[in-house]
């Protein structure tokens, strides 16, 4: 069974160059794709079961199939390299260490959806990464793999990097489109979905970097081979971003379905401090419900198993916390994030994230009244599912799960007039 697809060349010398990519067998899959009909490429990706790696886990091939067949408008591909979900840093590795894998994935995807214009929307903070990626694009243009006549096929493809300027909400796909059009990144009301009315009012596919980077392997080896990796509907391999109190934080690739325990112990070397066992894990980026140690140590890392535990795979950002971490304070750092990043368009989100954040910090620092927990829960009820995008939900999910699983800490804080720990987190 293939263990690694995306990270195989991460540690080879000059892995970011075209020469190294070709030496490792790269830029052959797109030639194969170009000999196929676009619809056949879409079929192959459908067969692979590849699901979006940006957070929602929607099957990529199915999404591509939503592009209207008879459109006479330009079709766009937007690669989402905004990577701003807290705890997530895998796309940076792909772009820094194997940018040509992403570029080849773009060529194949654009062929499949009949697009000649791709934008890569990269977060502004990834400036060094942007330069690596631009150099890789320049190489691909010089080699004739991009431009007016892709590898002599007569088909034009232009790829442009668009640099964001610091706004989490521009990772949300329609916020991204607005931002690319030169506006504030206000998410759009859906429907219409971007596949029908997207960038510049034209049919648009938005996919995460890791999703697109998985495509060359699928074309090279076939959708069925990809579907044979992983478990059930969680096919293929996945890049896990592990941060927090582990011995070796980092990006690790395994087939989907690996037990969390194995990821923690075999890949990350276990917890950093043997006296402080695991306390909690946020398995999919800050927006998903937290797991207790017991839940985490019994879960497999795939879409369905995490779903059964009431959480989500999300962006695969696993934030690991040890015994001794104050959960009120941990939650407060997250509500602060959502309050800072709400775009302010919807009242329940703008007011709700701010108010929730104020109360959580008051519980942490002292001064909260006992009935304020109920007030937060009430606010959450008025945010969940009531807004244009799911940022409001993304704030509610951690709040509700922290309350449910670590309620005693919130109660104790209120009783004691705030946090009694000198350091809300144990500093080794």
């Amino acid at each position: 069974m293939t263990q690694r697809i995306l990270s195989v060349n991460f540690d080879t010398e000059n892995s970011h160059t075209l020469a190294a990519y070709e030496r490792n067998g790269g830029y052959t899959a797109f030639r194969k794709a170009l000999r196929m009909q676009p619809a056949e490429v879409v079929e192959e990706v459908k067969k692979s079961g590849l699901r979006g790696r940006g957070g929602a886990g929607f099957p990529a091939g199915v999404k591509w199939g939503f592009i209207p067949k008879d459109t006479d408008r330009p079709i766009y591909l937007c690669v989402n390299a905004d990577e701003s979900e807290p705890g997530t840093f895998k796309d940076r590795y792909i772009m820094d260490r194997d940018p040509h894998m992403l570029i080849e994935g773009i060529i194949i995807t654009c062929w499949a959806i009949r697009s000649s214009d791709c934008y890569i929307y990269i977060r502004g903070e990834y400036d060094a990464t942007r330069k690596v990626l631009q150099a890789a694009l320049d190489e691909a243009y010089a080699k004739g793999y991009l431009g007016k006549d892709v590898a002599g096929s007569g088909w034009r493809l232009d790829v442009t990097i668009h640099k964001g300027a610091g706004a989490y909400i521009c990772g949300e796909e329609t916020g991204l489109l607005e931002s690319l059009e030169g506006k504030k990144g206000y998410p759009r009301i859906k429907p219409p979905f971007p596949a029908v009315v997207g960038l510049f009012q034209c049919p648009t596919i938005i996919n995460n970097v890791e999703t697109i980077a998985s495509v060359p392997w699928i074309l090279e080896n076939g959708g069925e081979a990809y579907a044979a990796i992983g478990v059930g509907k969680s096919t293929g391999t996945k890049l896990w971003c592990v941060s927090g109190h582990v011995k070796r934080p980092g990006v690790y690739e395994t087939p989907l379905g690996i037990p969390f325990r194995e990821l923690l112990e075999d890949y990350c070397g276990g917890m950093r401090n043997p006296d402080r066992p695991l306390k909690a894990v946020i398995p999919g980026g800050s927006s998903v419900p937290v797991l207790t140690a017991e839940e985490a140590l019994g879960v497999n890392m795939d879409y369905e198993s995490l779903g059964e535990k009431g959480t989500m795979l999300g962006s695969a950002g696993c934030i690991v916390m040890e015994e001794g971490t104050c959960m009120v304070w941990a939650l407060a750092t997250l509500t602060r994030f959502y309050a800072d990043e709400s775009c302010g368009q919807c009242t329940p989100c703008r007011e709700g994230t701010g108010w929730v954040n104020d109360i959580i910090w008051r519980i942490e620092r002292g001064g909260a009244k006992p009935d304020e927990i109920a007030l937060v829960q009430n606010l959450c009820d008025n945010m969940m599912g009531k807004t244009i995008c799911v940022l409001a939900d993304a704030c509610v999910m951690p709040v509700r799960s922290f309350f449910k699983k670590f309620r005693n800490e919130f109660d104790a804080h209120i009783e004691n007039g705030g946090c009694t720990q000198a350091q809300p987190v144990a500093l080794a």
Partner: protein
């Protein structure tokens, strides 16, 4: 200063204008050049003044209010001159777990300023920022565009020493 020199101070350089017009071929609307143009202004001028926003509006053929709205929406655009070195310390969960607050209080003691402030000599500015996408190296900061990974107070001191 005469009218024309102030104007010049806020305009994009010839080179930047040429770069922008080349980029224009990649987009069906001029408004889509908004972020690229604002990045160019900030690169050349260090920040984006009101006059520079009007210049951008002019170049893109959009109303100035659209430019003001965009500049204020994005965290990375400066509508006031920043310090020469902008120290952006991440304070989101993974960095907090690994001691971001310790880094921030060290900076405060060292530079005598809090977040959002600039030292009197204009050399340093501190900003608290959200997850920088480098949590495996927490705690993390960026000094202008450059990451500093696995921060300790000692490492930060050494980095600040090295700056020209």
């Amino acid at each position: 200063m005469s009218e024309s020199t102030t104007q010049q101070g806020v305009q994009l350089s010839e080179a930047a204008r040429a770069e922008l017009e080349k980029l224009a071929k990649r987009y069906p609307t001029r408004e889509a050049l908004m972020l690229p143009a604002l990045w160019m202004v900030q690169r050349e001028q260090g920040w984006i003044s009101h006059d520079a926003m009007e210049h951008v509006a002019d170049v893109l053929g959009v109303s100035p209010v659209r430019v003001y709205a965009v500049v204020s929406f994005y965290h990375m655009f400066h509508d006031k001159p920043p310090g020469k070195y902008n120290i952006q310390v991440c304070h989101t969960l993974s960095c907090s777990l690994m001691g971001a607050e310790r880094i921030l209080s060290h900076l405060k003691d060292k530079l005598g300023i809090s977040a959002k402030e600039i030292t009197e000599d204009g050399r340093f500015m501190i900003q608290r920022v959200e997850c920088l996408g480098a949590c495996e190296h927490a705690p993390v900061c960026q000094i202008n565009d450059d990451f500093v990974f696995d921060l300790t107070p000692e490492l930060l001191d050494a980095k600040l020493e090295e700056l020209p």
